[in-house]
């Protein structure tokens, strides 16, 4: 029986009915296919691992992009 999980994404709480992979998570957040980078609990998640790495209860996720800056 899949358990719902609560995680923190860019500082805000989120709930998922079942633990998604990083790829599924990005899809659900409408971020699939974008130029971005993901950090999970302080560690980089390489893009190649998006389809296999599964999020877990209590994870802290950061999703970043490049923006204008000096």
């Amino acid at each position: 029986m899949p358990q719902p999980i609560r995680i923190t994404v860019n500082g805000a709480p989120r709930e998922f009915a079942t633990a998604p992979t990083v790829a599924q998570f990005l899809d659900e957040m409408n971020l699939a296919g974008r130029r971005l980078a993901v950090e999970r609990n302080g560690e980089i998640v390489p893009r190649s691992l998006f389809p296999e790495q599964r999020l877990a209860e209590g994870d802290t996720i950061e999703v970043v992009v490049a923006v204008g800056g000096g």
Binding site: R35, P46, V63, V65, G69
Partner: protein
């Protein structure tokens, strides 16, 4: 500037002007200004993405193709070495393993003055992780040389406070850094107008990095061109070697003989 490239970490760039991408009206203006500047190295910031944005929303990296520009991710807004290192690890992943980065660790939100002890800690860690670090720093020659010793590929002392447009406040300190450093010295922050950039280059800087002076000009694209010309003019002037100053002693440029005179 044929045959006179700026070399950073072994790579040659045919412009000595580096520009930021912040504070523009939109990406179209960003790109037009960058094109007018002739810059090859372009800074970007790394930030949390908006969750729930519309698909197809434009992305800054889409207007900066990597075959035309070297993207220089910065750590603007970081106040600790840990945050800066974390940010650049994300940047490296975002930019497919790209190693050239701009390190800046700030010490105070009002002045955005660099926090040099944290900058040194971050630089050491980043160099150990294989990053090529261009470090924003105070105009203290001891600090700049420490960064060089830690393995930074360029040191980037401020001309004046970030976004202040106050120009070069301490050319003498910059001169000491330029004279002593073996890695490229780029003036970063504080340039207000084209003459500031020319002065920096005349001092012998290897390059100039600016954002606000272009983005917040009344006509950013035109100012970008002015900056390109100023950096080129300043560099040429430096290489040409200025005439000696002769205080209190004029020297006419026209012949002193052969003047017409009222007949005696």
């Amino acid at each position: 500037m044929a045959g006179e490239a700026l070399v950073i970490a072994g790579k040659a760039y045919d412009s000595r002007l580096l520009v930021g991408t912040g504070k523009y009206r939109d990406f179209d203006e960003t790109r037009r200004a960058i094109d007018a500047s002739g810059a090859r190295i372009v800074t970007v910031a790394i930030r949390r993405t908006n969750i729930g944005q519309k698909a197809g929303e434009p992305n800054l990296l889409d207007v900066l193709p990597p075959d035309l520009f070297t993207i220089l991710p910065n750590t603007a807004g970081c106040y600790t070495a840990d945050d800066a290192v974390r940010t650049l690890r994300l940047a490296r992943e975002l930019l497919d393993g790209h190693a050239l980065v701009k390190l800046e660790v700030l010490g105070d939100p009002k002045t955005l003055f660099p926090h040099m002890p944290e900058t040194l800690v971050a630089a050491k860690q980043l160099v150990a992780e294989g990053f090529q670090v261009m470090a924003y720093c105070s105009d203290d020659p001891i600090m700049a040389l420490q960064l060089e010793e830690l393995g930074c590929v360029a040191v980037m002392p401020l001309a004046s406070l970030i976004g202040s447009g106050m120009g070069i406040l301490n050319p003498w300190n910059l001169q000491i850094i330029i004279d002593r450093a073996k890695v490229p010295v780029l003036v970063d922050a504080g340039i207000g107008t084209a003459s500031d950039a020319a002065i920096a280059m005349e001092l012998g800087c290897d390059g100039v990095l600016m954002n606000t002076a272009i983005a917040q000009a009344r006509d950013p694209v035109r100012m970008a061109r002015a900056m390109k010309l100023a950096v080129e003019a300043g560099r040429e002037s430096f290489l040409a070697g200025r005439m000696p100053r002769k205080p209190y002693e004029a020297s006419p440029s026209s012949p002193e003989s052969g003047l017409i005179r009222k007949s005696a």
